[in-house]
Amino acid sequence: MRARWFFVSSALVALVLAGVVSYFADSSPDGLDSVTRQGCTAVETPQGERLDGSCPAQHAKPHPLENGPLAGYAVGGDSGLTGVAGVLGVVATLGVSGGLFWLLRRRSRAD
């Protein structure tokens, strides 16, 4: 069936993007991050990165869930498993959004 073929192949593309292609993503700060870091110099320390100078990013608070099992798109802190985290994220997104949209949909007459 054509609809099923399209659904399965699209889901596979999303899984490959998050599971494999994600390893080739640029790890530099993104647009927002780089703007809020302007005025600071990032210094690597054993405790992690420190921002010297004055910039909005210094006001960023640690994430309350930063010790979660998938925090930072890693698995248990292992960023070598980004692809696994990505695949789990695709599955979770598909499940939550698909479930919500299925509940919200207009029912046909044979409801």
């Binding site: 780089s34 994220g89 598909l94």
Partner: protein, 226 residues
């Protein structure tokens, strides 16, 4: 851990009243989205809409270089609106942002309202308005549709970045000039918008080749009332 893998606003960049204000904006906007999304969701389009959200999640992971030491990633609002409609599209991006904050510690919890406002509401609306304005062009040919998708995605990215400028103007933390933040945000997001445009155009063109009936922008307005 909150360093380079964070892609969205962290907690603390804007003050608490501003976070609450944009939390309220997000709740109101999403309430409308839930009500109006229903008319675009049926047995056939609901699974497709779920796929759009999953695709946005996957693509947001793929940061591409835009300047030395600066990357960008898809926001996805225009893509989701073109494929699934503006209301469903806003919900797609919101679900991605909520899951990123809760599962991946990406984007703060108190900042979630601001992140949803910028990327799911403002960006999606701007991209969709551009796409609707250019819809005759999109209907004319595949090249037209591709160009419209590119333009809508570019505007989506730049306007979403202006959302952060607005929030920073109201309650930003850190002694930085607003003009400097605005210029830097718009400048870098013009570059990111080119990448967003290319990725959106490629995706919309691929869906249109396989299943043109699943492209909301081409469907709406031409269909006979059900």
């Amino acid at each position: 851990m909150t360093g380079s893998l964070a892609m969205h606003m962290s907690d603390g960049l804007i003050d608490a009243p501003t976070a609450v204000l944009f939390g309220a904006v997000a709740v109101i906007g999403l309430s409308f989205a839930v009500v109006f999304a229903r008319r675009d969701l049926d047995d056939r389009t609901a699974p497709m809409a779920g796929l759009v959200a999953a695709f946005v999640f996957a693509t947001q992971m793929l940061n591409f270089p835009v300047l030395p030491g600066v990357s960008g990633h898809l926001l996805g609002g225009a893509l989701a609106a073109i494929l699934a409609g503006p209301w469903v599209g806003a919900l797609c991006v919101s679900i991605v942002l909520v899951l990123q904050a809760l599962l991946f510690a990406d984007g703060g919890i108190t900042a979630l309202g601001a992140n949803i406002t910028n990327m799911a509401l403002i960006g999606t609306a701007a991209g969709y308005l551009v796409a609707v304005a250019l819809r005759p062009l999109a209907r004319r040919s595949r090249a037209g549709l591709t160009g419209v998708a590119f333009a809508a995605a570019f505007v989506n990215t730049v306007v979403a970045s202006l959302g952060f400028v607005l929030e920073y103007a109201i309650g930003g933390q850190g002694a930085v000039s607003l003009g400097g933040v605005a210029a830097a945000m718009v400048g870098v997001h013009c570059l990111i918008g080119l990448g967003e445009g290319v990725l959106t155009a490629l995706t919309v063109a691929a869906v249109a080749s396989a299943r043109p009936d699943l492209v909301h922008l081409l469907r709406k307005g031409s269909e006979v009332a059900a």
